[in-house]
Symmetry: C2
Subunit: 507 residues, 2 copies
């Protein structure tokens, strides 16, 4: 933890699970991280039924979990706590009974979040963790489903419908086996609820949040072959969701947790959630859902600590710089490696040496900013450690494919040759060439900045006579570029191979 | 980097490679880490021959590298620099010519280390990175070989002989092919030099340092199947060394770098080093060599920043606590998990529930102190990240087997079941049971300390009636142990399975 870091706990008392999440943040800066978490499958909404009453057993579990959370906050010395209740508790006739008991036992003043606020927090989570500016969002909870419409990164419309996974499962799929008749009835019910929403889209991007969606995505992702990464940015296609639905419906409810990636404590309600989600996608004409790891809790956190509007300017840039900050990268150095890399990338493109574009440029920049984070683990093999950290510490706004590419570019910034087959099923035909070029560029930029003093201020690219000449320019104060030139000359092979022509370093 | 951290650069101008290593340390504390490194295969001693004269080309390379190092120190703002020259430069007739040119170009006042001091630094590296208290040590460089004898962790005797890998290779193996006659001559020469050393051991432990030894160990280790870890603590058997020698001697010098693990820039001198090492082992009656990642540079660093004597009290404890400190673990929490774990481990042993001993106790303690370091990467899956960090951040004093076991115990401190086959060839017959017990214990200790407030001060173990009862005792101030008991009860399965009897948590 950095000096000046404060902590805020957000407690999310959902219909299915309750979570306490602790965020560390530096007030007045965009730096933050999730530092702790406890999750309990409380199922407070279990058995509420038509009469909308919290049952004694779930209340018992809820009270016990609340006192666990309170002990945790006390003993960890966390003073700032936001405790929120959503759909199940909001809709319960006897909610005051529960909330008063919670207050008495724990001192938590639980805020019952309105359906409107719940959608707004979901929107903030989506807007700050994906690149969706215009499109739709869905937050599928245990009790309710929030639907949102984003226009120009603002929340243009929203609604909350009682179509959560616990609710749908209890109402339509009460037994061990899900009959096709039951499944049809569930689908029809969801469709009927969605139909009146005139603003629900007809195609376009759709982002999804919430534990049910994360779990479905994790299961779908595990059926593919690529490096193990979190589900953030994963695109769950409608087809993949349908495959999962078939797998789930084929098994009795109690066995659904044996399907790879499905959490056992969601086994009995995941199918109801999957069906509701499928209908939401169909009625919105969406072939795919972009998954975010953020959720209601992050929405609450962003609302509390970011400015007004509580939005990061640029999600991807923020993710990358936040991660570099967490691992204490020398930001003058890594940003300068980024600058020199982009100068070479652009200069080579201008000279016709490659025709990659904005996407590669973005990945290259991200890899530059993150290439040294592995030194926080060990200087030896730090390129490998940077790779590990990039894959596993989370980079909202990037897809798994982009994440793996960024990781590989950082992985090969010092030595070795990249191998596109490490992308697994994420590999595209020309990825080997793409990686060699990007690794070739970052490797030279790193060497031109080997002395870490920005002595090479800029680098010019001259393409002529079938070769490439890089001309490092010393910064104005008569800086010594001898290290840079010496180091770069010994590391030009990879770029030269990638371009299929000699690369000369002027000096 | 922590606040209050200072940096010291040590430049090691060896006969084969030159290295600049930067250490971060907090004065007055035992916390340190290697933060940066540049290595150049300068080969300053190349071609010195009998006349003991540094040749123009090596001098050229040396001067260039020195100015690279100087630029690096200037631009990184590193003020404290220790520049040292060893064997090749020490023995060169024209060394002043080189050292004056270095001083003029860079300002470095290079200290020529005496053979005696070189051995002493090697001794400090060994004594602070291995558990050898009584035994022998060997530091194999490019120019010389230092031999040491440790008694009661003190340096009892030492010598430096001109038997380095570059020197031996140039003198005895000058061509592409190594004939058996040449190999025999080399061996005989080394043997003759070692014979007069009356204090050189007859059996016992032998620790080895230096780049040649690390590289030989890396190659031998790569021929085995177990998780990728550094060579620190690896036991290079005499047999494995002989296999490597055969492999190396079979290839022409320029192709030896194609052998897995052998660095290409050592290809032409590694065989000479391997043969010299084999003779040192044979004449000392040592069947195996314990490899350390530390070396002359660390010796210099320890000598500068530790007290007098410049020795850590307990190498393994120091390694573990240093690593926990680097990743900002909550030390009250992790040490308390350690305390509770050892209470259970000891209580269960006393009750006859297992018969593991000191080794397991030590691994369990280390895993406890390190179990949360992964949260520095991401809270999600932090058990996996702790595992990664333990395997890759270095723990001097532990063998690869111990390292992998510590990693696995930490890996399974929250959930899942350990699988001993992850040890690969390091697995022993009873490791599955061993791991289940140790993971079962740490998991309960973690839950008894779930609220992180040391509210459970101690835990008593009662074994009776074929079952085990754990009795947590609240600390004196009337602490609330409800979280602890509740959490532990839900996590007793693994220990219960490991013991083959029910485990009850009193509350």
């Amino acid at each position: 933890m950095h000096a000046g870091m404060e902590r805020l706990a957000v407690i999310d008392m959902g219909s299915n699970s309750w979570r306490l999440v602790v965020y560390g943040f530096e007030p007045g800066t965009p730096w933050w991280s999730l530092t702790d978490e406890i999750r309990e499958a409380v199922r407070v909404g279990a058995g509420m039924g038509e009469e909308q009453t919290l049952k004694p057993e779930p209340i018992e579990r809820a009270l016990h979990t609340a006192s666990v959370f309170a002990s945790f906050c006390r003993s960890s010395g966390i003073g700032q706590v936001e405790a929120l209740a959503t759909s199940a508790i909001r809709d319960a006739r006897n909610r005051d009974e529960l909330l008063e008991a919670v207050a008495e036992r724990t001192g938590f003043q639980v805020r019952v979040v309105s359906a409107e606020d719940e959608a707004r927090y979901g929107y903030l989570a989506i807007a700050n963790s994906t690149t969706v500016t215009d499109g739709a969002g869905v937050d599928l909870g245990g009790g309710s489903m929030q639907l949102m419409r984003l226009e120009g990164r603002e929340l243009a419309a929203s609604t909350s419908l009682p179509l959560g996974s616990v609710r749908m499962s209890e109402r339509f799929l009460p037994g061990e086996k899900a009959s096709s008749k039951q499944v049809r009835a569930l689908r029809k019910h969801v469709r009927a609820q969605l139909e009146p929403l005139e603003w629900w889209p007809d195609g376009g991007r759709l982002a999804g949040i919430g534990g049910t969606i994360r779990n479905l995505a994790a299961s779908a992702q595990k059926r593919l072959y690529f490096p193990y990464v979190d589900v953030g940015g994963f695109e769950l296609s409608r087809d993949a969701l349908e495959e999962l639905i078939e797998l789930l419906a084929d098994k009795p409810a109690s066995k659904r947790g044996t399907i790879k990636g499905i959490k056992p404590d969601r086994a009995d309600v995941i199918l109801g959630g999957a069906l509701a989600l499928a209908e939401a996608m169909d009625s919105g004409g969406c072939d795919a859902l972009e998954v975010s790891e953020a959720g209601l809790r992050e929405g609450v956190f962003f609302d509390r600590v970011l400015g007004d509007p509580p939005l990061f300017d640029d999600v991807r840039r923020q993710s990358v710089e936040n991660l570099a900050h967490r691992f204490n990268s020398d930001h003058h150095h890594v940003e300068h490696v980024g600058k020199l890399s982009l100068e070479m990338f652009d200069g080579l493109a201008a000279g016709g040496a490659h025709d990659y574009g904005d996407e590669e440029r973005r990945l290259l920049w991200a890899a530059c900013v993150l290439h040294d984070i592995g030194t926080a683990i060990d200087y030896d093999d730090h390129h490998r450690h940077s790779h590990y950290l990039i894959l596993h510490a989370g980079l909202p706004g990037f897809t798994p494919r982009e994440l793996v590419l960024i990781g590989l570019i950082a992985r090969y910034h010092r030595k070795g040759g990249p191998d596109a087959s490490e992308l697994g099923e994420l590999e595209r035909d020309d990825d080997q060439e793409r990686l060699e070029l990007l690794c070739g560029v970052i490797r030279l930029a790193e060497q031109l900045e080997r002395s870490r003093d920005q002595s090479v201020a800029t680098v010019r690219v001259v393409t002529a006579n079938g070769g490439v000449k890089l001309e490092p320019e010393a910064n104005g104060r008569g800086a010594d570029t001898s290290v840079a030139v010496w180091a770069a000359r010994r590391n030009a092979d990879l770029l030269s191979e990638a371009l299929g022509r000699p690369v000369e370093i002027a000096g």
